[in-house]
Symmetry: D3
Subunit: 315 residues, 6 copies
């Protein structure tokens, strides 16, 4: 297995380090205990069965632990399953780290940070520039680590920054084609629109929702943060702040999707469209990358459950 | 006309002071200018026509002015219309005031304030009590003046406070019937739930939406206000604040109705139900008050456009 | 296991009487027969496996039978499962009864009956009082036994009467807060609104839908019953009867929820709101009772599939 | 005007008897009173203006009165309007009757009655035959007079009987093509399905909804009537009665359209489909009859607001 | 097993030829391979387990193969399951054919072809007759073989032709009851409406969707085919062709169901209704045929997931 | 009036040529005839009243005629209205043309044609290039004249070509940002996606829907045209053609919006998004151009009836 578990085929022998994502105990019909593990590396994940698991195994093999595992890829109900032949916890001397086993953005954190800085540098409106810069400073570390979502699109390390930078690329072009667009406002909206996720989501790996994420959601969280930050920067009450809060509030497009107000400012509408377009391109390109010409992808839940066709004439 | 314009019948002669709510200019098919005025007193409103209006009339008879008018109630397209025979602007010596011509809550401001104070006094949780008290103090004056909405329910002077106090009454009973309910949390939620309207709406009379009302709405405005107030009071980060923000955020019940999160805490669900119940009772009782047993009310827009029947056996 | 199966934890030994709710036969991959039983007592239920089941076992262990069972609580796919070590049918000498193993209302039948009688006694309109009393007399026995639903809310013995009595409590308070409400009409509507369920549902235990329940439903059944009873009592044609039928017909609130007419009378609207409020409080309080502060409940299907949070500051 | 007002064209002189359907008073911008009348004969209706109307005119020209009118057809906002030149109330000596001015079914009452009798005669199931016959006897007079609806389809004298007889024609054919269908049940369902309209609607001319029509609707009314009639005929409790009630209850097809239960019996589904088909054919044929090949009809509200095209190749 | 697998009961011994519809490999918890087969004959299908499957078994027992199998019908999770005792592939000398194991229309291909020819013979409009005849000629072979759908209704060999002929029967009667209907247009619409399925579906057995079926669908495919055929026959541009394309385009009734235009011509509306009626009768009659009086059918997915009741009084 | 009627303010005198867009006759309450005209020039339109219109006026002043008109801009019910003082039909010697009075794209036809040619020149796939080129050639004249819609967006002369060229601009950028996108396919889809409108719409001025536009719509028309053209060019059956038809078919995004299949190919999804984005930018920019900073636009019907705010900080 050179390329990673995401590329392993049935029958292949496995002998490598992997991260335990989930672990649960079961009993065979004969009453014997076994463990079902979801293992992952940076390229994908696989279900694995550890038969005849002992109490010690149960205590050792828990989520977020790295293991050295050897075994064979079988098929079970149409899906690949790893039959574990030998397994042990990773040792400090193995020099492996959780961050080696998670998917990352295809662009490095340094480049992402450069692109963000460049966009802020282009901005001319001082109010918009100041508040944007203040947030980048406040959240810099996590912003470069967090995914943009728990699943569906940009659900990998640095996914949030990758999504923002990608959207800034579209915004730059849209501004050239339609010069009426207020670039500063659009840039500020793009950079801040999802920062509430840094409080809505639990972290970089095996991401879940925090309590305030569940009870408030990233949109109201960010609207409030802008209010607090504006007071701190003593720019409270300027119209830019209100409009920026509106951009954040409305960026999901309609009430049913979590925006109590629909976009009512030109740049709010564009922010919503660019967000949609980049999320869709990310999902589509990654799904189509895994199939051959003449085939359909799996159904993509966040694309209305559609399966997409990859034309064969492109070969 | 003893009882007010809301009780005038067709054919009746009118000779009284009224407030101009709206004014617009028109031309007869013969090309002559006239004014269409919407006049009101504390009991209701009526459309009036001032034929052969001069330029001076146009300048004199504008919204928010009080006039002395005599005329006759006619019927036009099934609705009453006032034919103006004589009209003049009110003079300082007439000793009439805008506040005489607007509908008011059936309970006085003093009593409403007492009830609010009493509820806060009942609260035992210090965090919830402190933040509630701080808002009452901050907004006391407008809270006792504003309507709860521009139309449909409690759309009169002190309507907001009347709605809050009425909801507190239900809450007290619900807490007795279901003692599991956290009364402090429910009281705080009720008192604060619509305070964002003090920034969403333009004022007490001929109420319209402010720009921040249109772009953000009273729910996100109030969530942000709680965040800012908590920081001021140095109770930021306490769980009560988060839960209280959730109560405000979710009190419209579902995303389509403006709450990005549905109620996910018991008291949030109850707050939503009590809000609904009091708004509906207010609309129903006022509409049924205007019809006789055996009749149907007009269609009530905010009650899904239903016309309600008043049984005749109640006579 | 002192408190009942609803409180048993994994690893605990069980030795008690339980009622078989469901039983089905399976084959292991080795081709050996086993029985899957759903067992219950008054506090909850658990899945159990009886391995190597004989033909005699299959005949003995069928739904509605009481058994004496000893075994151990294991975990299977995240849910508790009882591994049966020994089992036998209950004997007459064991002196256990089906009614010992089902959930019951937290209020006794006698108290429920007293509360119903008291409400009827308060009524002053003779027509409404007579027909309500006639139905209580006709259905007294089942009314005090039936659940209010097969699942979701008040789904226990005497659940229907408990729901009615609880709603009467809210109605009494609502009438005090809004004295325009016709208390007699509201009381009659509350007491009769769900009596059609006595024909829609099959009984007290392992409740299912009858054929007329499936083809007509409890609402049209009850509208018809009122018509028949009014004829019997020779009060057919009085307006109270029509209005009462309307209250029953409209109490689900809208066509999509089974009411061909929405509430068009004040008390019909209130009946609908009180029904909703009591059903929701019942679901919420019972679900929150099972979780600790700082936790979420399971998703509640009849509450739009929401999981509710129990604040930790309430500790 | 030989053919009737439904065929009059702009510019044509009118001199004939017509029935006043609606009358309302207005004031010109000069303050002079006039009457707006909706006049009709058996072929259609037209709006008419009576300028300079006196108090006597107001008292004379009221709904349900027949008048002799002469005037000219003008066009107003794209619709024909009758300018009244002379008008007088009809005299007893004119020998004109309200029934001359209303639209009637294209088939006589005698033939409709014969067809109903014939269908009942074909039925073999004694329970279904008895109850159907009993209702025909109870309602014979009104059944042959009432429209099937206030508007949209079969909204003319004898419209209800015409609709029933037309549906019986389709049912006979469907039974031949699919012999599994229970003809007796389907016939009984068709004959009774809309009889509740005899209580839901106010009468034959200028039909409106009764109070019980508004509060209960024809479907629950008829389900109840079947229950009462079954008790009278002492066939209460037979399964045919339950199934027949289900057919009535479900014939609108789904909850949103007023059927709390959808069709759950084969003949209930067919009844729903035949009802739909005959109503649609009635609307379509009458609308297409009024346009020329190559033209579109007006938008038909009850056909989802569609305008239908009449192909020109059919000429 | 005389009547076929659709009629086999639990405990019955099986010894017959069957067709493999699906095959998948699994592993027991002990790690031993087995095959899960879906087997079918002309009366129905059953799941079967072949334990201890070898690599040879895997290669031999694949979809579309006929096998000779003996075993016993067991029950597994409430559904019948065949336990295979012996199995071998069919030999040429067995003289069994795939077509023996699939469901067929209850009417022979010859009779279906006669009925189609007869309908075309009745048509008088030369344009409509020519194009209909041309398509019958082009697609004759497949038209008599294909199902009308992959599931739900007429999902058997010759199902498409059976559906068309059945619809023509209804159309003939509708035309007699409503003589305004253009019979030629309706016949042409019925015969052609689903011919696009010959390109949308993959074939007669184990039918799936083709790529053009997935990307275009049978409706746009057939609209295009009519355009191409009209050009070939040099009748392009005649109004009949446009109207016929409209009938095809609109026959699903509304946009959500795949018709970009709703029916806007009388015969288009009727075509839609007849299509619906025949599909529903086919589903209903076949489902009710499998249950006894007093029972409900399984839920029928394409009938809004309803379970239908078969009255017991019909016995 | 230098800038055109779109910029005229109340009280301004008008003396210029205008095109009659609509004309209808009315009667004053005194019974005198007048004409209501909708007049337009290249900047907008206004309602005008011609009082005391003669029969000759009626015959002269009809849609599509150019007139010389002098008058004054009044206000009527809040909207500007032109009071005509003098009017005459335009003469040949006036040298004015219908094309002078209609709105046009802000880019010339020559430039639009160059941009189209350039895009086709960039394409490398011969099949896609050939069919695109063939359509440009077939429809060149109308493609450069037609609007993209009857209202809402690009509803002006050359609007269709302007929309296409604008979309090509976005596509070029999207391809650079996401190089996986097949540019040839996307270009071909963009150029052809709305060509069906050349048959759906009646023409350049006072555009309405043709009969085939109403009965089929531009999407199925274009899918068929591609089929016919592919046969002509002998490239029928190549996968590019199928995919291209899919792009056209799915470009409205979902069934409710007229696409029987949703986008199932990457470029189909992008085509839909770009179409949406350019249409929205066109509507937004034109609406915001008409208001001042700090104001809201009128409600934009095709933007979900939203009124957009123009921030004042942009001044």
């Amino acid at each position: 297995m050179n390329k990673g578990i995401g590329y392993a085929s049935v029958g292949e022998a496995i002998d490598s380090f992997m991260l335990i994502k989930e672990a649960s105990k079961g009993l065979t019909s004969g009453g014997k205990p076994f463990l079902t593990l979801i293992l992952r590396d940076a390229t994908g994940e696989i279900e694995a069965k550890l038969w005849d698991a002992t109490k010690e195994d149960e205590a050792l093999f828990i989520p977020e632990k790295i293991i050295k595992v050897s075994g064979e890829v079988n098929q079970f109900r149409g899906k690949p399953q790893l039959k574990i032949l030998a397994v042990r916890p990773a040792q400090p001397t193995d020099d492996v780290h959780v961050s080696d086993f998670v998917e990352k953005a295809p662009v490095s954190k340094d480049i992402l940070m450069d692109k963000l800085t460049e966009a802020i540098f282009e901005m001319k409106n001082p109010t918009l520039q100041r508040i944007t810069r203040a947030f980048i400073k406040k959240y810099q570390e996590n912003l470069l680590l967090y995914p943009a979502a728990t699943k569906n699109h940009h659900e990998y390390v640095s996914g949030l920054a990758h999504h923002i930078v990608s959207m800034l690329g579209i915004a730059r072009q849209i501004h050239q084609l339609y010069p009426e667009v207020n670039k500063d406002l659009l840039y500020a909206g793009i950079i801040l629109h999802d920062l509430g996720k840094l409080r809505e989501l639990s972290g970089m790996v095996t991401t879940s929702y925090t309590i305030e994420g569940k009870l408030l959601g990233h949109i109201p969280i960010m609207v409030e943060e802008i209010g607090l930050m504006a007071r701190e920067l003593q720019i409270e009450g300027e119209e830019e702040i209100l409009i920026l809060q509106h951009l954040i509030l409305s960026h999901h497009g309609k009430a049913e999707w979590g925006s109590p107000k629909p976009p009512l400012v030109r740049e709010a509408e564009i922010l919503h469209l660019i967000d949609l377009m980049d999320a869709k391109m990310n999902m589509l390109n990654r799904a189509l990358d895994k199939v051959k010409p003449g085939e359909f992808t799996d159904r993509l839940f966040a694309m209305d459950n559609r399966a997409f066709y990859k034309p064969s004439f492109e070969e």
